[in-house]
Amino acid sequence: MNRTGDPTEPERQDASLHELAAAYALDALDEFDRARFERALAASPQLRAEVDAFRSAATGLSDALPAVAPPASLKTSLFERLDEVPQERAADASAAPSTRAEERQSGSSSIADRPSDGGSIDELAARRGRRQRTVLLAAAAAVVLIVGAVVGVNWAGPNGWGVQREIAQLAEAPDAERVTQQVDGTEVTLIWSAEEERSAVIAEGLPDVGGDRTYELWYIDESGAVSAGTFDVRDDEAWRILEGEFRPGVVVGITVEPAGGSPQPTTDPLVLFET
């Protein structure tokens, strides 16, 4: 277990996060820093004010670019699509559990497609609150997924019944939640339970990265990334309980690392999960 910052020194953490604000406003943070910064942003009005000011300055940078009129067809098809997308109402910000739940269950958002915060970081916190209401549905779906996949797999081995049963138990926890994301056409699912203090990853279709490299899991919070173990893909799939303690709100990431894993991530994450 490695930590980039000492959690007993909150002041130093704040200073280092503070220094990320300008790069965040420019969308120049690498994935890990972005994830931990956004996590802190949700709880810090000071950071938000800082980011807002930098964003206004960045708008100045766009003044230097030539304006380019988009084709008229773009507006036409945009307005044809407005009916497809329900608008959030001001009051909805905390009261739209059903659509959010459906979104999460369909689980097809990639990193690239997920909606950006758009200057309203409260959304992260709000989403966390709403998530609680989708718990039962999520747990049920996870169990179905697992029962379906268990058939025909041996007990032993990295993806064996032993691990699968453990993950199934995790998914049955009363507060279990699950999110699936697409990674290059493959599916990676994270299941977690705050009560059980554990989380697990199920990956289907990820490529085998070979003997000299491995996938590595990370728990990421404001103080940085902590390794949560490595895994390899066998027969197109991988089932893994993360090492270490799961704490609600942590971000879970997966990278490709040299065999044996790295103390800190050395490549960009394939996928990040907000919990």
Binding site: D27, S56, A57, A58, G60, K75, G118, V256
Partner: protein
């Protein structure tokens, strides 16, 4: 195009309204206001996205996504935190950069899987760093930055590079890039008179 204004909201008939008012009316479902907002901002939003994505088809797709997101989430706009243009351009920049990174990531992974020790050309920098400066105020402000600050800000904002990409492109330590970006943005903020 008249039919798209069919909701007949307050702003359906053209009248002078600020972009902030139009965005607020958009949040209430007023398509006429959204249409005016689009007309007044799309060239700027599209200009930024074109700069970042180059590919015209992708730029159009992302532009449409940006406005769909604006339509959906207009209620989150808070005028106390910045202008309507900043809000829109923030959505646009983030989405365009995400698109740039996503296509880079899949390309890099393909390369890594196939031939991991492929040498990456170090210096493809110079031509992308050059940015045509047209707006006087910004020209003035950018002139107030040091050359290296300007270079880092340009790579980040106009080319969508992350800090570590900038470091490897310029062949300077990551810490140096972080310092230049931060100091450059603080200076820019002062020069443009943005209050915190």
């Amino acid at each position: 195009m008249l039919d798209v204004m069919g909701d007949g909201g307050e702003y359906g008939a053209a009248r002078a309204a600020t972009l902030e008012e139009l965005l607020a009316a958009t949040a209430a479902g007023d398509r006429g206001a959204f249409s005016l907002l689009y007309d007044q901002t799309a060239p700027r939003v599209f200009g930024l996205i074109r700069r970042l994505l180059v590919d015209a088809a992708q730029a159009e797709e992302v532009t449409q996504d940006v406005y769909l997101e604006a339509w959906q989430t207009a209620a989150r706009f808070d005028p106390a935190r910045g202008s309507a243009v900043t809000w829109l351009l923030t959505l646009a920049h983030r989405r365009a950069v995400d698109r740039v990174r996503a296509s880079q990531a899949s390309r890099e992974r393909d390369l890594k899987t196939g031939m991991r020790d492929l040498d990456v050309p170090v210096d493809e920098v110079s031509e992308t760093v050059e940015v045509r400066i047209e707006h006087e105020r910004v020209t003035g402000a950018l002139a107030g930055l040091s050359e290296v600050q300007r270079q880092c800000l340009s790579l980040a904002y106009y080319d969508g590079c992350s800090q570590s990409e900038i470091a490897s492109r310029l062949n300077v330590p990551l810490g140096t890039v972080k310092t230049r970006l931060r100091d450059g943005m603080i200076r820019l903020r002062e020069l443009l008179g943005v209050t915190t």
